[in-house]
Symmetry: D2
């Protein structure tokens, strides 16, 4: 685990926020996929800071380079190394805080775990680490789309106390999501969210939110029983995103207050296949996809970096007041949208390939 | 993944609900641990059906046998095979339902995935599969308790619309939890929950709920960055439990509506160590434990097996009415309590051993 | 690693030589395979001691039980637990040797590694551990034979200084191998080998040997580049067998003295496929099977348990003379034959399934 | 497996011979290790072509860059990305051979496996892939040396029919090895080897050889039983090196003709520890190191690229004559020396860290 994810389609990410580069190596990508940097760049651009008032003004082009595994714009089946240089490094911004662990950051836990600590910024715990995930996820998405017809769309469904009405999960598109700065497809809710973010930003504070996601077109049969249940791997993937605090699928936490007679999804014929009339199961039964939409939510805490002064303690336990400089996101969820999509794609691509090993008949 | 969990302390479980036996092999258990069947039996007994009105009347002694890895009541460091025979098998109860997939069960998805299907009951998707988890988890718990002073306690915090007030996470004990049939430490809430379960049972229906869990005494430094974050592995472990639909940690979904200035946990000196004044982080920062209590919630859907007739379709897509026989749990959360504890213990024991590899100095 | 082998078709073995049982759990076996205990028993019977003068008189029926993963004689796709009870345990035979580590056994290294030690016999380091491998390997063989047409045949090619002439690798059968007690298909060499073993046994000594193996019918394309090369996984599998000391494939150590112009295998048309005129590569190029026979050798040291008195030291370093009781194999290679076949089958079955993940087109 | 090796200290390599770059990501490296590019460059320089008459004139500086995981010359405990640009790419040299698979190369098997093929050179099957291994291995070596006092030294012990006398395994140094171009510490044998290589080169041919290796200072207790035996992991690591055909450890293939009474290593007191008087076991018993020197041999075939014309077939099965251009190594073993050392170091570093998880007492 740690920095490696997946069993067949496997991703290793690397890179500190203020080091020389971040990136990923994708192992187990099938050969014969057409792949150019632009396939990856689109999602990296959506992840970039500086795109809206809600996000950090840190400005980097985040141009991805493909160093291996591709020749003549076609994948070779060998490891694909993806590299993004860090351009806008300002470690000096962090100089004043070397002796005070920032509250609800990972400064303290990294120091205890490793006995050393990156000089500046969050190092490996920074949101910049997700560049490698998004780059690798873009490849996973391409395979899912081209080989299996699977689409993944995430959006902001809540910021603070502003909750958007549930969109039509069968139809929502990335274009609709990107139509608002806050990446909420409901324009009215989006406006209220953005207003809230502006207010929070002015106050030097930050705010939490929820990202929802739907995966359409997943055929029945993906996912493994017991510890490799599809929802279990999605949960791991989502809770591994910096600042994620919760995950639920289908009916989710609402299921706790429901009765079986209302929650059970009756089977019905849907054209050639068997489907379900309702979808409280969220497209997964017994850990295995059933052909219906997979949908889930990921809760994010408010970013820990705020401009407001904070009363805390230094590493020696002495009371101190901390005033953070640097460029911060008042609300992370708009930028978390492509990260959630990437993580979902990584889990699904791996599940797809694993299911190929269950196929009958002879090979290769 | 699939039926293997963990990197160092690794568990493989096996067994169908109506096959000959269920069990687990624990690999990577340290040598020199005193271990007798009674250490494991206690948690298996808590998991057993037939203990209260809330649970299935299926009756099995579930006596665990230790087949290997232990000699003279001491672990050898080699794989520990744990076996529980299935005694109360009644596959005939399932005969009428061979051509109709039970709604919100895994009958349909297993058939699509594997092309074959266990003749009776849920096979590997049944709750009986958790016997192996609980047996293995009891060993993990013993190591955590004896080597690291870690305690894990779970309880029922919600059934249907009945929510219990939050207990004192620093003090709650298994004795308090087991003092009520429903395993809710608040007696008033427990009574209301039990009343609700009785009513649901009389109606031939089922009801969902939430299990909460606290892990006390975890030292700072457990958990790995990025994909191996402690909360990510806990999320995978919890969502892998049959019927689990959601997981959140610390502030969880509540974090979505909070501001950074209120959510950040300021550091304070706590005796010899650095602690935090509040604990919205749930004891984990950047994926790594910080020495505070780790606490989380797991949402469970209502059991899919209900006595009420259900309108659904058979495998051919023809409309059918299904009437289930068999012995069902109207509410699974009381029996899920030791399963949640087991899964938490498995994750923490593995994290503990992985952290040993980060130690400085020379070996062995 | 440790007691788990494979990526998709994964085997976990368990059991000490003088504990209650030995066995294995096979995870990732495809569903829909016809499987009865007799499929497994045949190879276990070949592995059993007491079959010839060359092997230990320890006598156990070694009846395998299938505890899970199979219903109505068909695999379900879920973990298959295999159990063999230990019947002929005589730990008392080992009582005199508790304070002296047996030379070239694992008594000393296990004690240092784990700080504890099985009271008797080799514990997990005993040859009895291979029961689980052979049982699991029999399932792997069945899949290879029925789905891919692959056959695996091993034989004794050397005992001490007696070397058998190379048989026709395209045609050799298990019947030919089993026609002699020593499992050497060349009757003349077999007679000389058996004579040597008798002499060694009379002298209270033991003798080494070599097992050769051929895998026929492996299609081109199995095996992964770099660390997962087919020959690398075969080497790991073979060197993991107790008493194995060496492995070579194709031209093997002979390759060191050859020139490229003689060693290169020219391509030729073979019916519909491309084949090679010679096969110094041993059926693998760049870690990937090329469609020709895969063949390799495994060298085994003489068994460490001998009746002759041995001058050695106890755990305190004091000089001692050791005289072993117990029932020993003067030569292990005849019994190693089915173990080598099992390990080859486990590696190939896993490679076959992994290659399924490389297939083009859509799933499932 | 594939391009990822190890359980705790894990290496992912990437890069084609004629792509943009080759490299590796090292995950699980402990924090707090002093690390600068020069630590890695030394072994890369030994691996480079163009250093002697025996090797290819391809000329690249192979300068390693450290992109992540290190700050202020100290490891952070996070993934270390290592990059080496490919400078001397001449894909045009390979243009004539697009329709003929080179004999005993991986052109054919890659094409069958993946359905596509790198346009030029061996792609991922090229010896250039070992750059990532050597870079990662240099880090492993540093940990082994500084934390555990372990030294790894390999040398050329055979070229064609020229065999060097066995050196003193307790004393041989890299300086002695590098004193001759051919990397054989025996000057007389080295001269004969070089003479043979010259002759072979003039003839447009190539020649095989053997690399021997010793690992000194490994404490007792490293390695895991059963499938994770230290010799099994070494065998996998060595057979994964391009052109490797065989591996044996300690007495190796010689063990086949030995008797137990001569092969068993009697225990003797060695200062404070228990040692063995002889070391036919090669420092490993039951898969676990015993504190004596670990030594083994790796056989390499003659390089498949030769200038002599070869009669073979094209992909259509038509007879063709192939005449290779390009820059080839007449004998690979001198350059394989640092690769063997790197692979040994990777296996041992991982074993060392895994053994830390077996330690008693409390953590972290």
């Amino acid at each position: 685990m740690s920095s490696i994810l997946g069993r067949i389609f496997r991703v290793t990410t690397f890179g500190e926020s203020h080091g020389r580069a971040v990136g990923a190596v994708v192992e187990g990508c099938p050969a014969g996929i057409h792949l150019v940097p632009a396939d990856i760049q689109a999602q990296l651009d959506r992840r970039r800071p500086g795109q809206s008032e809600a996000t950090s003004p840190r400005s980097e082009a985040d141009r991805v380079q493909i160093l291996s595994g591709v020749e003549g714009d076609v994948t070779l089946g060998t490891p694909i190394a993806l590299l993004v240089w860090n351009e806008d490094r300002r470690p000096s911004e962090y100089e004043g805080i070397r002796d005070i662990p920032r509250p609800s950051h990972a400064d303290y836990t990294y120091r205890v775990k490793y006995g050393v600590q990156a000089r500046s910024g969050g190092g490996r715990a920074s949101g910049r680490e997700t560049v490698g995930r998004v780059a690798a996820g873009a490849i996973a998405e391409k395979i899912l789309r081209e080989r299996y017809g699977v689409e993944v769309v995430a959006w902001v469904s809540r910021v603070g106390s502003v909750t958007a009405p549930q969109p039509d999960r069968c139809r929502i598109t990335r274009e609709q999501v990107d139509a608002t700065e806050i990446r909420c497809p409901d324009r009215e809710a989006a406006a209220a969210m953005l207003e809230l973010v502006r207010e929070v930003k002015r106050a030097g504070d930050s705010i939490g939110g929820i990202v929802s996601c739907v995966c359409r077109g997943v055929p029945a049969g993906w996912g493994e029983p017991v510890f490799g249940k599809l929802e279990a791997l999605l949960a791991q993937a989502m809770l591994s995103i910096p600042a994620a605090r919760g995950f639920d699928i289908g009916s989710g936490f609402e299921a706790a207050s429901m009765r079986g007679s209302e929650h059970n999804d009756p089977f019905v014929r849907k054209g050639e296949r068997l489907g379900t009339a309702t979808n409280f199961s969220g497209g997964i039964q017994g850990g295995i996809s059933n052909g219906e939409e997979i949908y889930f939510r990921v809760a994010f805490k408010p970013p820990a970096s705020i401009s407001l002064p904070q009363k805390t303690a230094d590493y020696e336990g002495r009371e101190r007041e901390l005033k953070l400089k640097g460029r911060h996101d008042p609300c992370i969820v708009p930028r978390a949208v492509p990260v959630v999509e990437a993580m979902a794609a990584l889990v699904l691509a791996d599940a797809a390939m694993l299911q190929e090993t269950r196929r009958r008949g002879s090979a290769p």
